[in-house]
């Protein structure tokens, strides 16, 4: 228990990092999420993710506007991921105090 308590911040950081990776996961999600661009009431109903939209529509986008819109979704995804990763990095850093690797003396 003592170990877990001390590692709390680091574990939270690792969890958030994992979430960050999950945010960006495209293919596995696209194949099963149903690609329904509506906010459904139930978790079990088809939905959509930012990455899936881009994956599905990009190659069929004919107008510049459509493409630009999709790239903007990419930007939103990028910003969200960066914020999540920085947050996670900060949490991990408070535990390790910024020593990513040791030198062998």
């Amino acid at each position: 228990m003592a170990v877990l308590r001390n590692a709390r911040a680091g574990i939270m950081g690792a969890v958030i990092l994992g979430l960050g990776r999950g945010l960006g996961e495209t293919m596995a999600v696209t194949m099963v999420i149903g690609n329904n661009p509506a906010i459904a009431k139930s978790l079990l109903a088809p939905g959509y993710t930012m990455a899936s939209v881009i994956a599905n529509e990009f190659n069929e986008a004919t107008s510049d506007l459509h493409r630009s819109a999709l790239i903007e979704i990419g930007l939103a995804l990028f910003i969200v991921t960066i914020i999540v990763n920085i947050l996670a990095g900060l949490m991990v850093w408070t535990v390790t105090r910024g020593t990513p690797a040791r030198t062998n003396a």
Partner: protein
């Protein structure tokens, strides 16, 4: 409270948490085993010689294979490593040997952030950088996308491997009057050689399975392609394309392709780790 009772409660808690941790680990392993089992069940039957040597047949016709996708994956990885590996190793050398300063921290931070960017976003970046100016999809664009993803991974493993080289080795070189840069390249890097090569090959294996960044860079191709300037098929891309269609035969081939991809990746990783472990232990005496 009598001593005995405290002991029992502590012990029970201990067993409980140990059991919990163990069963969660088992869940993870089971997931992996389940994936393997399913793949083998669904794909092994279709993984035959014609699958490995033929290109896709037109829709509706039974048969054909993913030979062009296999070649395409190799070509894209080759192009990616042409850019990604030198830059990654260079960054790793800088971080390990000269990087205890502000710039080093900045590079490490940027590298970590880049590592966390979703692969599809990197695909979009490669689209903007390569596909738009060139006005067509290409294997080269796919290579660029994967190269961008490779750099942080290769840099990090290179840095770690270089830091594993004992400082005494560098000191010996300095003591002989060898300048810093020569020491880094001919002594430190040479000593960490095996580890760095392993890191690069593991990166290969990992990025061989990337699909999203190739969707709007390499784009895919139903035929043989040997040119870096044209759209090209890639294994994970082909699997995805087949999987979302309504055709049974293509589903069958998708399973086979998935099985092949997993075998290649897991096989390479295991082999590389095995060879590396032997060299590490053999040379450490």
């Amino acid at each position: 409270m009598p001593k005995r009772q405290i002991g029992l409660r502590r012990q029970m808690t201990d067993y409980f948490f140990t059991g919990l941790a163990a069963s969660l680990s088992v869940v993870v392993v089971c997931t992996l085993v389940a994936i393997f089992a399913y793949l083998i069940l669904k794909g092994a039957g279709s993984l035959n010689w014609s699958f490995l040597t033929q290109t896709p047949k037109p829709v509706g016709e039974v048969g054909g294979g993913m030979a062009n996708a296999l070649l395409g994956s190799i070509m894209i990885l080759g192009i990616a490593s042409l850019f990604g590996v030198p830059i990654g190793i260079g960054a790793g050398i800088y971080l390990a040997e000269y990087g205890r300063n502000r710039l080093g921290q900045l590079v490490r931070f940027t590298s970590d952030v880049l590592n966390g960017v979703p692969s599809i976003v990197i695909g979009l970046v490669a689209y903007g950088l390569v596909v738009i100016p060139q006005r067509h999809f290409s294997a080269f664009a796919g290579g660029v996308a994967l190269a961008i993803m490779m750099v942080p991974t290769v840099a990090r493993t290179t840095e770690q491997m270089l830091l594993l080289v004992p400082h005494a080795v560098r000191e010996a070189a300095f003591g002989l009057g060898i300048p810093q840069w020569r020491t880094t390249i001919f002594i430190t890097l040479a000593t960490a050689r095996a580890g760095i090569i392993t890191g690069v090959m593991l990166a290969f294996a990992r990025f061989a399975g990337e699909t999203a960044p190739l969707m709007f860079t390499a784009f895919g191709n139903q035929f043989w392609s040997y040119s870096a300037r044209e759209p090209i098929a890639a294994l994970p891309l082909q699997i995805f394309t087949y999987a979302i269609t309504p055709y049974d035969d293509w589903h069958r081939q998708a399973w086979a392709g998935a099985l092949m991809l997993v075998i290649l990746i897991v096989g390479t990783t295991t082999l590389v780790r095995f060879v590396f472990m032997r060299r590490m232990l053999g040379g450490a005496r």
